[in-house]
């Protein structure tokens, strides 16, 4: 009898523990920008699991993940840096690290979090575990002048790379020795870099320029070669349209030997070859914001700036033709693919909805309610360079 009782207890305890176990590889967080909260979702059966509140001003917020895919680091506009435990569904720590920030990155080894700030302009680097300040790098470029920083990414070799919007510079910060960051500065890279990205292999850093045509490119394998300008002739002689929203370069899409990127102030997606030469431009519905590659690179999904932001277009990367135009609703702000690309999630801000679509049939298979959703971030970003 006693044995039976013990066995029952053991069995009961085991089943309890089993029920509580869960992986995090199919989880994600969605920014609910206006009310300062994030929604925890899972993309195996496409449901929302929890809401985590108290994150401040989340307009233009973004998230990176720890390499164990348990913690999300949320970068808020108001300078807030919040560490979320997605298993416990709660905030672990939250600090106000500046007055106004724009994004962040996690280091190659996962131990450092860098945040890109507008005010005061510069980058701050924190211990990913404790959020204690490790390094403060003010972006000082002229006597006393501090530049807003943009396009902050991580790169192999424990590097952080970012651009100075006001100064027109690219800085590379080597954090191999955390007590002495080594900063390499590249000046006169072009006027008003507005965003930057690193290619998925972590080799090339590219800054988009708002103030002039072309892009600034830095080969991180060969810093000694300096910054080169690519796509210099793009846009020459053309009247640019007013830009109601800055494009994002994060989703910059590479497909085989082609790269697609949003043109600034044109209703076009640009196609470059491997030599950074423009080979084509694709006419699209509006000014592209995100040009995002499905994980298999066969399709590119594009959203657009105000006032044409009710539309999504899908480009076939083989033919470079638009194969589908969708009208999900007012203000489609962001998209995120499931890790292997069978589904795409998109946030429809003005209709407070997140739609999940099948990327083969383009059918909406699920709609989730979310309050003015913007960015959608799945945990598999944890293992991608530059995200």
């Amino acid at each position: 009898m006693k044995l039976f009782f013990t066995l029952t207890v053991i069995l009961f305890l085991t089943s309890c523990t089993t029920q509580n176990l869960r992986g995090t590889g199919d989880l994600g967080l969605i920014i609910e920008r206006a009310i300062g909260q994030v929604k925890l979702v899972e993309h195996t059966t496409n449901t929302s699991l929890a809401t985590i509140k108290g994150l401040g001003d989340l307009s233009h917020a973004s998230i990176v993940y720890s390499r164990d895919e348990r913690y999300g680091y949320v970068f808020g506009r108001d300078g807030g840096l919040t560490k979320i435990d997605i298993l416990e569904q709660k905030i672990v720590k939250r600090i106000m690290q500046s007055g106004n920030s724009i994004g962040g990155a996690i280091s190659q080894d996962g131990k450092l979090i860098a945040v890109s700030n507008y005010k005061p302009g510069g980058v701050k680097i924190f211990n990913a575990d404790t959020l204690d300040l490790v390094a403060n790098i003010p972006a000082v470029y002229a006597q006393g002048k501090q530049s807003k920083t943009v396009g902050l990414i991580d790169a192999p070799g424990q590097l952080f790379v970012f651009s100075l919007y006001d100064a027109g510079e690219i800085w590379v910060v080597d954090m191999k020795n955390i007590s002495t960051p080594v900063i390499t500065k590249f000046k006169n890279i072009g006027s008003l870099p507005y965003d930057g990205l690193v290619t998925p292999d972590g080799r090339y850093y590219i800054a988009g320029l708002f103030g002039e045509d072309g892009l600034a490119m830095l080969d991180l394998w060969h810093l000694e070669k300096g910054v080169t300008r690519v796509m210099n002739h793009y846009g020459k002689g053309k009247q640019k349209l007013p830009v109601y929203k800055m494009p994002h370069l994060e989703g910059w899409a590479m497909a085989g030997d082609k790269m697609l990127l949003p043109a600034v102030g044109q209703h076009e997606v640009l196609v470059m070859d491997q030599n950074w030469k423009q080979v084509k431009s694709i006419k699209v519905h509006g000014q592209p914001i995100f040009v995002m590659s499905r994980p298999d690179h066969r399709q590119m999904w594009v959203n657009f700036a105000h006032p044409r932001n009710d539309t999504i277009q899908v480009i076939d990367t083989e033919t470079l033709k638009i194969i589908k135009t969708l009208k999900p609703g007012k203000a489609v702000l962001h998209m995120e693919f499931s890790p292997r690309g069978e589904h795409v999630w998109m946030s429809v801000r003005d209709e407070s909805r997140v739609d999940v679509l099948n990327t083969e049939t383009f059918e909406v298979i699920k709609s989730l309610k979310a309050d003015k959703p913007s960015g959608i971030f799945f945990t598999n970003r944890a293992h991608k360079i530059g995200l």
Partner: protein, 102 residues
């Protein structure tokens, strides 16, 4: 009787007009928060673009704000909004900004 119905009619159309203005004002408030906000921050305390909070605009005359919204600021990312907004819209936006949106 006819006069009365005319008065009522005028009154009704006036109130409809007033409602419409309110709707438009609400739309413009939304536009300020979310679309201006994409560069100036949702609370308008500044981002890529400068702060648009009422205190920050205190010393900027209406005419300057009007021309900036209408024509944009060449050499900066501030676009001209004239193709999307009427002069009336712009004046309403200036009023909302002066009052503050929060």
């Amino acid at each position: 009787m006819q006069t009365l119905s005319l008065v009522i009619l005028v009154f009704l159309s006036l109130s409809v007009f007033a409602d419409r203005l309110t709707d438009r004002q609400q739309e413009l408030r939304y536009l300020i928060k979310h679309d201006c906000g994409s560069c100036h921050g949702m609370t308008l305390k500044g981002g890529l673009g400068p702060s648009l909070q009422s205190l920050a605009l205190k010393n900027k005359p209406d005419e300057l704000l009007f021309i900036t919204i209408k024509e944009g600021r060449p050499g900066t990312p501030m676009p001209p909004w004239k193709s999307l907004l009427t002069n009336d819209d712009i004046n309403i936006i200036i009023k909302i900004l002066r009052k503050g949106i929060n």
